[in-house]
Amino acid sequence: MEKIGGVPVCPGVALGELYVWERAPAPPAAEGGGPARELERLLRARDRAEEILEEQYRLALSRLGQDEADIFRLHRMMLEDPDFWAAARGPVESGQAGARAAALAAGETFARQLRALEDPYLRARADDVAEAARLLAAQLDGGEAPLTLPGPVILAADALDPGELLTLDRDKVLGLALGRAAPSGHWAILARAMGLPAVTGVEIAPTWSGRQAGLDGETGELWLEPDGETRGRLQARGLARAETAAAQALAARAPAVTRSGKQIEVCANIGKPEEAAQALAQGADGVGLFRTEFLCLGRADCPGEEEQFLACRWAAQAMEGRRVTIRTLDLGGDKRTPWLPPEEGENPALGLRGVRLTLARPDLFVPQLRAILRAAAFGKLAVMFPMVTSPEEVDRARALLDQCRARLEAEGVPAGPLEVGVMVETPAAALLAHKLARRVDFFSIGTNDLTQYTLAADRQSPALAGLWDQRNPAVWELIARTAQAGKAAGIRVAVCGQLAADREMTGRLLEAGVDELSVPPADVPAVKARVRELD
């Protein structure tokens, strides 16, 4: 037995055969066709590299999550960057360098500049630009051979690019022992998300292939030919980890039931359809608030019906039969987009926003309602209207929804059943809750805006920090009235503001009669645990 030290990166243990992998050296450069020909090769390689990164982005998004997928988006944006591109094509056009040398040199130029910065996070991005440049260079010669593994092995390599790691056959890799990969690199984020135990800083010998090894990602240790005792210890650790993870996953997915037997739905707030996977992983019982503004913000035009339909359908399907509550566009006020003309008036919070805006702009509202109705054929959906202040607004919105449904039917387009609710986030809505309750299937109390409008205090204003308080008795009075009116009418009452995640207040919310709490995905397990402690 030989023990080799390394740096711990991703927790977990692995026992098995080692496989040492080295990136194949690039084939001799096929240069010599002159600057014009080299430039053409470079352009084509860039197209191909961007395609690959787009594929990897999608793969990471569907298998892992947004943070992991963003690594590939970053690499793609680096290749598209005008300065990077100028640095790569300049020497090619002038005939000073071949396409491959120029691509790699551009990567190295920017990597060097990033390494010179103080911020450790930025310094770590030097690897990213070098990796993106290497991907580009590899496409000049038809791309790199994929990393294939002979069977379930502990993979030993100097370093792995995010793309190489992502496309590994997960069933064939037990763990990673890397040589020079930085612990802060993006590969580590991917390895963790893939559940791969990993260490780095290991001095790897090419002769290791085929030897038995044990790896502990928590201590950074690697053993060659581990003895019986070491193997036993690692196995026990691995088993304990697996048991804890299974127990946690089970607890997260289990319903949140109070001691007296009342089940509370603990749902997640999401802003993008991709976040549904995260909500599910945290054990959310559904999505209590799906903000649809993400589709609109930061773009030059309003998304059409088809794009909104795809986003809603994705979320509905990702939640595997659990309810997804979609809030219709909550634009206007302080949420502006370049295509929405800024409104007159000095106080945007009290202006044309939420359902007021969408009722005034059927060209925005109708495509969204149609998209939601169509997506409802693919999962359990609910829709809710924001910033309601009167029963008439609800009547008008519902009438429009009915028209859209009738229209879809006439067109022969399938539409699904839909629960309809309102956000209670203005004092007017809370005070008229008994009237609103007769018109809808559920309430969702948006405590952030309700607090702002009740206390006349802007949450963003630092001078009013003490005043904006969700626990203020006036706010509670309105929450209690709303819940009471909901109970009396026999409809579901949800809370989706910051207050829903305030575990010190969970008990009071349940006492008030709230049936559902919708919180950021990461807060779901803790809120469920809190509900289980209560009577």
Binding site: D70, E118, D119, R336, T337, P338
Partner: protein, 85 residues
């Protein structure tokens, strides 16, 4: 030309996802936008240059908007910085 200054509150500063979102967002604007930190400045849709500003949490940056719909874009950018950076 119109400008505003902003102190970065995002723990990652002006890089990673916030920088990507900013570069993407800036492409929807009509004006030419530059971000300056100290003596270095970067066109807002140049991701590498933005990262090379080395702007971290707590650093102050100045955003300058020129041409096109200055007023509208300035307001949109201020919102964007407040919401994301």
């Amino acid at each position: 030309m119109k400008t505003f200054t902003y102190t970065l509150t995002h723990p990652n500063g002006l890089h990673g996802r916030p920088a990507m979102e900013l570069a993407d967002f800036a492409r929807t604007l009509d004006s030419a936008v530059t971000v300056r930190k100290g003596e270095r400045s970067a066109p807002v849709d140049h991701l590498m240059a933005l990262m090379l500003l080395g702007a971290s949490q707590g650093d102050e940056v100045t955003v300058a908007v020129e041409g096109g719909g200055e007023e509208k874009d300035l307001a949109a950018l201020e919102d964007f910085f407040r919401a994301n950076l």
